[in-house]
Every structure is written in C-alpha cells, then in structure tokens.
Amino acid sequence: MLLVLLASFIGSFGAVLLKAGAGRLHRNIATLIFNPHLAAGVALFLVSSYFFVLGVRHGELTVLYPLVSLGYVWTLLWSRLFFGEPFTRSKFYGLGMILSGIALLFAGR
C-alpha cells in the first residue's frame, strides 16, 4: 500500500516535470531531445511504474489501483504551487467524480 502511494507521488512529479519540459519546446528538434525536464519526467514515470508493480504484487488490486489515482490529487496541488493554476470548483467536482468512478470500476471486478 505504501509502495503504491509512493508510486502515485513519484508519478505526479513526473507529470510536473513533463509540463515544465513541454513549456521549453520550440520548433526545433533539439529542444525535444536535449530536454532534461522531459527526460527526468519520463524517468520518474518509469520509477513510478516500478514501485507500482512492486506494490501490487502482494495486495488487493481493487484497493491498490484506485490509490494510484490519488496522483491526480497531488498533481492538482503541484499545478497550483509550481504553475499558478487556480483551484476551481469544477476541478474538485470533476476530480471527485473521476476518483469515485475509478473506485467503483475496480470494486466491480
């Protein structure tokens, strides 16, 4: 369970780095290839999926899979912190529905 939470946490930072790297993209292939933020973001996604696989090996998938989606909540926080994206009501409602939907999806297995 802790491993899966860790995975969601790491994955959310991966998304932040992808966004940071994407902001540095121009019509120049070098800005894609020599982009440390993008590389680090993809690396964090890989690390995140490694911890996820470790975490779900011994656990109930119906509980663990929805836990990964907590990464969306972390990302909401980082988006405000690092990119100044506002908290809005529709973000909370939408996210709440997505999280409940995922929980139901895996409860229905």
Partner: protein
C-alpha cells in the same frame, strides 16, 4: 524546480484548451491500446528472458504506443493546464475496461458500467468548467 517564466510558449502557435484536451484524449486511446498489446504480448511470452521480450511483436508495439501516448501528452501539456489535463488520462481506464470485455471477454458488471459513466462525466465536468 520549474521556472514559471520559461513556461510561456512562443505566441506563434498555441493549442486552445479544447485542442489540448483532444490531444490527451488521443493519448488515452494510445495508452489503452498499449496496455492491451502488452497484456497480449505477456500472455504469448514463451520464456521470461530479455531476448524473448525484445523480439515479441505485441510487447514492442505496446511500448511504442506508450511512446506515442507520452508524446501526445507532452504536446498537450505545452499549452494546457496540468491540473485539467492530467486527470483526463483516467479515460484510459474506460477504454481498457471496454476493450478487455471485447478482447479478453472480461465480464462488464453493472458496477463497472456505473464507474465508467461517472469517470466520463467527471472528465466532462473538469474539461468544461471554469474559465480559460
């Protein structure tokens, strides 16, 4: 940590919010295709060796699709809000559930269908709401 002043792309070409969401939409379809291919590849794997994995067509195709999916996400994130676009990736769950029932004959229970519906509505609320 990311420098906010460097985030603004050149004004020459920018995706609107709708276009960014459409890009993530494509990203989820590629992502779901990748997961299905990787599952198919894993099932057909004769041994657990690295060579067997590297020469497995389904696995290779699956990982390539993951690459395409990530590329679309990066493109979308360039101009879009991370807090709106990232949760849209949850649509992958929807496609994977539907494709699994079609391809692997996994049972679509009523609970799963309700879950799918709520995710889709949640994504719509997220994408429609708020100001640009």
């Amino acid at each position: 940590m990311p420098d906010p002043t460097a985030i603004a792309p050149p004004p020459s070409f920018r995706f609107s919010r709708g276009q960014s969401i459409a890009l993530v939409f494509g990203c989820t379809i590629f992502g779901a295709g990748a997961q299905i291919l990787i599952k198919t590849g894993a099932q057909s794997l004769s041994s657990a060796g690295v060579l067997a994995m590297l020469t497995n067509f389904h696995l290779l195709a699956g990982y390539s699709l993951y690459g395409c999916s990530t590329a679309l996400l990066i493109l979308a994130l360039r101009d879009g809000e991370l807090s709106i676009l990232y949760p849209v990736i949850s649509l992958t769950f929807v496609w994977v559930t539907m494709l699994s029932s079609l391809i692997f004959k996994e049972v679509l229970t009523p609970l799963k269908l309700v879950g799918i519906l709520i995710i889709v509505i949640g994504v719509a609320v997220l994408g429609k709401g708020g100001k640009q």
